[in-house]
Amino acid sequence: MPRSYREWVIERLLIAAAMVSVVIIAFIIITIFRTGLPLIAEVGLFDFLFGMHWRPGHEIFGIFPMMIGTLLVTLLSMLISVPLGVLAAMFLAEVAPDVIRNILRPVIELLAGIPSVVYGFVGVIVLVPFIRTYFGPPGFSLLAGSIVLAIMALPIIITISEDAIHAVPKSYKEASFALGATHWQTIKNVILPAARSGILAGVVLGSGRAIGETMAAIMVLGNIPAIPDSVLDPIRTLTANVALEMGYAPHGPHRQALFATGIVLFVAISILVVISNRLRRGQQL
């Protein structure tokens, strides 16, 4: 077979492989929107997004409590994981000797690969009873979910932040040291500001993980579609809504409403991914 012909075949194969994933994603998007949009049109976008009640039996579809639930659990989990993650990244990139870094970094990457049901299981067995005993029932709560999702977002925040800190030119560090700065002053005043956009990209991706996580959320959050009064109240997230009810909604407006919930999630995640990509590109400039 002539070389040029082989090149041509390989090139087409690669294009085909790339096209497959594009086509699949396009198909998913079309399905979600085609099924969900008619219901949003019927209920009205405002009533769907800001309706306080979700009663599929009465064909009342308001997802506001679940949007608030998703928002709260995401914010709270970020409140826990961002400081912890950025500090850990600083330790790995700047303080840890190579020996420790070479052990810790793969371990942290491994954390990202553990199935979410395992995190949820540990949450149910350990965290939920702990909260029930020491803070009050039911245990299944916004707090439990925030802690579990924070742990799940940590590997993303740590690895992306560490890459960003590592990418700061060594010459900045030398310049700062040469002016009589201590290591901590150099980290705080030069390295962190220079790595800021990369760290923010990690935070945004981490919050994307928290928003999108379904299984662990269902297992520990309690799944009541109501706005919580405290962190000890149960909540339901948008993802949990779809996963919990899909089996009971084979057709009709209920099923459509779950796809419509998917549209809201899709838009939210898309916005986060765009923000994250922009932040990461900004860093290289």
Binding site: Y172, A178, L179, G180, T182, A194
Partner: protein, 258 residues
């Protein structure tokens, strides 16, 4: 060797530096005189950069570096147990081969050293005055006075290098080390920095590493010639370049190798 009547700023005795198992400097002894420009010349890999980086303990941040011997600054052992590298670097500033301003404004670049060292006090004059003075001393003030808040990266490479000099001057060190400061600059920008070096020596002690013998001849009072980690010869620049004592120095300055 010493020159009577001159004040010694830095005294280096029997300095050996190792990176892991490789020896980068062998038994170097050298006196740096106050308010003079001392040039260190030699071919690539001769240890000249390693040498000046020992004078402000910048080699400390490279893992696996070992320094033996004694270096004193005004009589104080800078590798002594009770001396911190941070304090040494406060007194011995450094300008690097590649200009390395921070990704901050021109103003904040110069202010950085003052801020971290807590040098902004009522008696010392306002921050702005000190920054103007540092930029003026680095012959940059007139070019940047109208755009102090723009990014340092908008300056030309030559201006960036003078900004790095202003940044080093702002905290008023006693000694300033220049590690091939002109190697990335065009002849005009180089000439400006060389003029600056001659002006600065009235207030500061200067050590400059350069790969350019012409530059060493133009700016320095004393020159040390390094080869393969050893200091071959050290003396008045005029003598080194006109009557070198060592054959290897002569071969190098007449361009037979290097």
């Amino acid at each position: 060797m010493s020159y009577t009547g001159e004040r010694l700023k830095i005294v280096v005795r029997n300095l050996n530096v190792y990176y892991g198992k490789t020896q980068a400097l062998k038994d170097v002894s050298l006196d740096v005189q106050a308010n003079k420009v001392t040039a260190v010349i030699g071919p690539s890999g001769c240890g000249k950069s390693t040498f000046i980086r020992t004078l402000n303990r910048m080699n400390d941040i490279i893992p696996g570096t070992r320094v033996e011997g004694k270096i004193t600054l005004e009589g104080q052992d800078i590798y002594g147990n009770n001396v911190s590298a941070v304090e040494v670097r406060r007194r011995v500033g450094m300008v690097f081969q590649k200009s390395n301003p921070f990704p901050k404004s021109i103003f904040e670049n110069v202010a950085y050293g003052l801020r971290i060292n807590g040098l902004i006090t009522r008696e010392s004059g306002s921050l702005r005055e000190r920054i103007e003075k540092a930029l003026a001393d680095a012959a940059l003030w007139d070019e940047v006075k109208d755009r102090l808040n723009t990014s340092a990266f908008e300056l030309s490479i030559g201006q960036q290098q003078r900004l790095c000099i202003a940044r080093a001057l702002a905290i008023e060190p006693e000694v300033i080390l220049f590690d091939e400061p002109c190697s990335a600059l065009d002849p005009i920008a180089t000439a400006k920095i060389e003029d600056l070096l001659r002006d600065l020596k009235s207030k500061y002690t200067i050590v400059i590493v350069t790969h350019s013998m012409q530059q060493a001849a133009r700016v320095s009072d004393l020159t040390g010639f390094f080869l393969l980690g050893e200091m071959v010869e050290y003396g008045l620049t005029s003598e080194i370049f006109s009557r070198p004592k060592d054959k290897r120095t002569e071969d190098y300055i007449t361009g037979r190798f290097g």
